[in-house]
């Protein structure tokens, strides 16, 4: 079956020749028309549209956006804040950066619509510290939007006022965790908070109700308000509505970002047809489908079970290539859609070394607040680093698995899962390589192998 064509909603103008990131260009392409209409409608209507659309958060967890908005405590009398999570840090993911760099007004429009819908008077864009250029672009874009009265006091003469501020992160992966982000925004160390009681919807920024949404999610809100929630559900598959942006990196012919209807394309179509397949003379070995914290998939393995298709339960028997790319199907096969960062590894990759790389990242990024993640992440890194440096032992695989098993579900935030899932899945699926690593280490590397940094 040939791959479907891309359906670019969010990336409609990204990389379009002649498309610039200034306000004039955005307005020439119909920009801010949705906001103009939205502010004439009732906020509840807009929330209803988002709820109807079934939009799921694009930050990684896939939590329904409408439900998130519905949880906000609107009776407390406290101001409601909206935070745009632009701390895109998951290795393998690079979609939000393109939106901010090339189409910042789309984000600002989506943000303003969401603010209006939720009666938010103050929004923050928390942008990753390592994206200074993006921050400058956004600053400029917000200034333009403010001058044109799309942001600021008395927007478009409606009496509704809302400010957007840019806040640059301090360079930590954990700043993307929503409660860590809030702490960081408050000027503290980005130590995630315990939930309960600190659910952002009730006790968020400055202990006020707070909505934290991903950059891409808010751009989808703009589309939903423009076309209606009903129309949005027609895109993608039930339960996984809309489009998904896949950031494909690694050993394929044409890495890059591709926007498809969710669930309408399989992993095989994406990698083989859209991305041009493996590099010459190589074969695919493994793929991480949703950012480096997602569990790895091994080419050649089969996934069997029953799944719901409409009202019926049907059997499925998939290889990696057959898995439809949406939240639910990827969850069914034991991994996750995450942030859409598809990392491809071919047969030149040694999985022990790949895991050492991932573990080095996560041990460096653990905030250090709670014990299992703080100590476990570094311990796993120390083990894999030692293995790579030639002191591997046969029992290391079992030890690694045991250490990883002591982390997820026992930590304050989801970083516990993020740092342990790679180790768990690498050992489960490539246990043979870990067992054989002491020997493999002695053998010469394939001549065409890529060096891992």
């Amino acid at each position: 079956m040939p791959a479907p064509a891309q359906r670019r909603i969010i990336f409609q103008h990204i990389d379009e020749p002649g498309y610039t990131n200034d306000l004039a260009c955005y307005q020439r392409h119909g920009g801010y028309e949705v906001l103009k209409k939205a502010v004439t409608r009732k906020p509840e209507e807009l929330i209803d549209e988002v709820k109807k659309s079934g939009l799921r958060g694009r930050g990684g967890a896939g939590f329904p956006c409408g439900v998130k908005w519905g949880l906000v405590d609107r009776k407390s009398g406290k101001p409601i804040y909206l935070i745009v999570n632009a701390d895109e840090s998951e290795p393998g993911t690079f979609k939000d950066r393109y939106i901010m760099h090339q189409d910042p007004h789309q984000l600002i429009e989506g943000t303003m619509i969401s603010c209006f819908a939720n009666n938010v008077k103050q929004a923050y864009i928390y942008i990753r510290g390592e994206m200074p250029h993006g921050a400058r672009i956004l600053e400029k874009a917000i200034a333009e939007a403010r001058a044109a009265n799309f942001v600021g006091p008395n927007i478009l003469g409606t009496g509704y006022s809302c400010e957007i501020f840019i806040h640059r992160g301090a360079g930590a992966y954990i700043c993307g965790e929503e409660t860590g982000l809030i702490e960081s925004l408050e000027g503290k160390r980005a130590n995630p908070r315990i939930k309960p009681p600190y659910f952002p919807a009730v006790l968020g920024l400055y202990q006020c109700p707070t909505i934290v949404n991903n950059v891409e999610t808010l751009c989808h809100v703009k589309y939903i308000v423009e076309h209606g929630g009903e129309a949005y559900t027609k895109i993608g598959t039930p339960g996984n509505t809309g489009t998904r942006i896949f950031c494909v990196s690694g050993h394929v012919q044409r890495p890059g970002y591709y926007e498809f209807e969710a669930g309408k394309i399989t992993m095989g179509q994406l990698l083989n047809e859209v991305c041009g397949g493996p590099l010459p003379g190589r074969t695919f070995k493994a793929v991480i489908p949703g950012g480096s914290s997602a569990k790895v998939m091994r080419f050649g393995e089969r996934y069997k079970g029953k799944r719901k298709l409409g009202a019926d339960l049907v059997d499925y028997d998939w290889g990696v290539e057959d898995v439809p790319m949406d939240f639910d199907c990827l969850a069914m096969v034991g991994t996750m859609g995450g942030s859409g960062g598809v990392i491809v590894m071919d047969d030149t990759v040694n999985m022990v070394e790949a895991l050492a790389n991932i573990n080095a990242f996560y041990s460096h990024e653990s905030c250090g607040q709670c014990t299992p993640c703080r100590e476990g992440a570094l311990w796993m890194k120390k083990i894999t680093t030692r293995m790579v440096h030639g002191l591997a032992r046969n029992e290391d695989a079992a030890l690694l698995k045991s250490v990883a098993d002591q982390i997820p579900g026992r930590t304050i935030c989801a970083f516990g899962e993020a740092c342990s899932w790679p180790t768990q899945s690498f050992i489960a699926k490539f246990g043979d390589e870990f067992k054989g690593y002491p020997e493999a280490k002695k053998a010469a590397k394939p001549a065409n192998a890529n060096e891992l940094v």
Binding site: P196, C367, G368, T371, P372, E375, Q406
Partner: protein, 568 residues
């Protein structure tokens, strides 16, 4: 006393045991009530909850209800309401009691969680228990024994961190031992209001440190040492001095001010090694000031009075008491009692004053309160003097009245119970003009000028009671034997009373209390032995009109004392 407001009770089930606890009680505290230990590091009952150590993970469940009908779902196997157990473990410190809450702490999952956390905490820990001051009272040791696996799988290099950072004048930090529980940070920020501690670096390399250019030097810094669950924060004073398991613990009271913080005195073979706070939720919670912890050094002070003296020559106690009696016979005696004396001593001082028909004076010490655990009144027991009737009005800092009487020749003999009269405003000429009988512990101008010197004991060498600013009677006990040559104040006072013709009064504290109870109405129902460890609150109505010096401190509001009485 007002009965505390009745809290709303909820029934929770912990390891199959049902207990009713006030709503909002967390699982660690609720479990304690049914005798179930939930191990923890970061949780402290008096600090904000952060839930970062993950040692208190438990299984939690709620009774199942049908979502549609709200009717309880009954488990056919047991005939009881079904419990929906949450698959992920929950932290006990952050989980509050709610109606029907079920907790399991004895399941394989909980055991596995604890073993995992223990292992993680120990892999980068130096395991230097043999030279660590915390050994013997270390949560890491205790819980490793109780909940750990007992062997190590860690063969990598441990993290290296600073070993002996001086965080301040009194606190030394060993970062390698730190388990990053953040108790000290929360204490400094929330209780001491001196936010100088914090973590730098991240992940396993996180390091506790002081803010650049600042020091942990507030007067409550040593509380961080007390609450440190491991040997990371150590007292520079106590460090490497003594193994804690050799030390005897004696309950005592901090004498720095009228707050009367409850303390424990740790001693061995007659020597005191440290003083730590003792929990009293109505007085000092679990804190005390640093200044109160070094008071034990007074016991071995160079200027201790260690021999009875008459006119500067060594003598014996009974001879000296008789010499004092001779002075009393001349009449015109004045008595200077002390707000530092115990209730019992003040009672006997009053007896002496009554016997001699002598006016009694007191010296006040008013400073500035720190709004926490040091009040403005630096005498620990001015209220005791009021309760026993030694004085009727609040004292002043200067003995101007007595000075005038001496100048007028109306006073021939002054008995001072531990007060330095020179410091209280009497000139050398005035001191020379009268005969002084001095009972006290330290040499000073008064003892030098005294006709009769009777050495007595420090608070650590005797038992007694103080009445704190809340009018709470609190007991302190003898931690170490008295210094050689010094005699218990009660014995000396009883002998003086007898010598003055006041008849025989008991000097043994339990017997004395029978007399006190009979003669002091406010203490009528009490005995020394039965005083609870956390003290007894007195009815303060008779003194509610007095303008006490104290401002607000922890668990004390100046007007609140009066309110408490109104409701009683």
């Amino acid at each position: 006393m007002i009965a505390p407001p009745k809290p709303e009770l909820v029934t929770v089930n912990i390891d199959g045991k049902e207990i009713a606890v006030p709503k909002g009680t967390n699982v660690i505290e609720a479990a304690r009530l049914v005798g179930v230990d939930v191990p923890h590091y970061c949780y402290h009952p008096k600090l904000a909850i952060v839930g970062n150590c993950r040692m208190c993970l438990v299984e939690m469940g709620m009774p199942a209800v049908d979502p549609a009908t709200k009717a309880p779902v009954i488990d056919p196997a047991t005939g009881k309401q079904k419990i929906n157990w949450i698959p992920r473990p929950q932290i006990g410190c952050g989980t509050n009691a709610a109606p029907g809450l079920h907790i399991r702490t004895n399941t394989p999952m909980v055991k596995d969680c604890r073993e995992g956390v223990m292992e993680f905490l120990l892999i980068n820990h130096p395991l230097d228990c043999p030279i660590c001051d915390q050994a013997g009272e270390c949560k890491l040791q205790e819980q490793a024994t109780g909940y750990g696996r007992g062997y190590s799988r860690f063969i990598e290099q441990k993290n290296v961190k600073p070993k002996r950072t001086q965080l301040g004048p009194r606190v030394t930090l060993d970062d390698e031992r730190c388990v990053l529980c953040s108790r000290c940070i929360r204490f400094s920020r929330d209780i001491a209001k001196d936010d100088v501690l914090g973590f730098i670096d991240r992940g396993s390399h996180s390091t506790l440190t002081c803010y650049p250019g600042k020091k942990l030097e507030n007067n409550y810094s040593l509380n961080t040492v007390d609450i440190c669950p491991v040997g990371a924060l150590t007292s520079t004073d106590f460090r490497f001095k003594m193994r804690v398991w050799f030390l005897k613990q004696t309950n005592s009271i901090d004498t720095e001010s009228s707050v009367g913080a409850n303390t424990v005195v740790w001693s061995r073979e007659g020597a005191i090694y440290r003083i730590t706070p003792r929990r009293n939720d109505e007085v000092n919670d679990t804190w005390m000031a640093d200044t109160g912890r070094v008071l034990y050094k007074q016991v071995k002070a160079d200027n201790r009075l260690t021999s009875v003296k008459i006119n500067g020559a060594d003598s014996g106690l009974d001879i000296a008491v008789n010499a004092a009696a001779e002075l009393f016979k001349a009449g015109s005696v004045a008595i200077v009692g002390s707000g530092r004396s115990s209730v019992e001593e003040q009672f006997l001082t009053r007896k002496l004053a009554t016997t001699l028909k002598a006016p009694a004076h007191l010296v006040s010490r008013v400073g500035e309160g720190d709004r926490l655990l040091i009040s403005a009144d630096r005498n620990p027991n001015v209220r005791g003097a009021l309760v026993t009737g030694l004085i009727a009005a609040l004292p002043s800092a200067q003995l101007t009245e007595l000075a005038a009487q001496i100048d007028a020749g109306k006073v021939k003999t002054v008995v001072s119970v531990g007060e330095d009269l020179a410091a209280a405003g009497l000139s050398a000429a005035q001191l020379a003009k009268v005969a002084i009988v001095y009972l006290g512990t330290y040499a000073n101008e008064t003892s030098a000028a005294a006709r009769v010197v009777l050495p007595t004991l420090t608070v650590f060498e005797k038992g007694g009671t103080f009445v704190n600013q809340q009018f709470r009677v609190q007991k302190f006990l003898k931690a170490v034997p008295g210094a050689e040559g010094a005699t218990d104040d009660l014995v000396v006072l009883a002998k003086l009373v007898a010598a003055a013709g006041g008849g025989s009064v008991p000097s043994e504290i339990n017997t004395l209390w029978k007399t006190i109870a009979a003669e002091v109405p406010a203490l009528g129902t009490m005995t020394f032995a039965n005083l609870p460890e956390t003290g007894l609150l007195l009815d303060a109505t008779p003194w509610s009109a007095l303008p006490f010096a104290e401002g607000e401190t922890l668990h004390y509001k100046p007007t609140k004392a009066a309110q408490l009485v109104v409701g009683s």
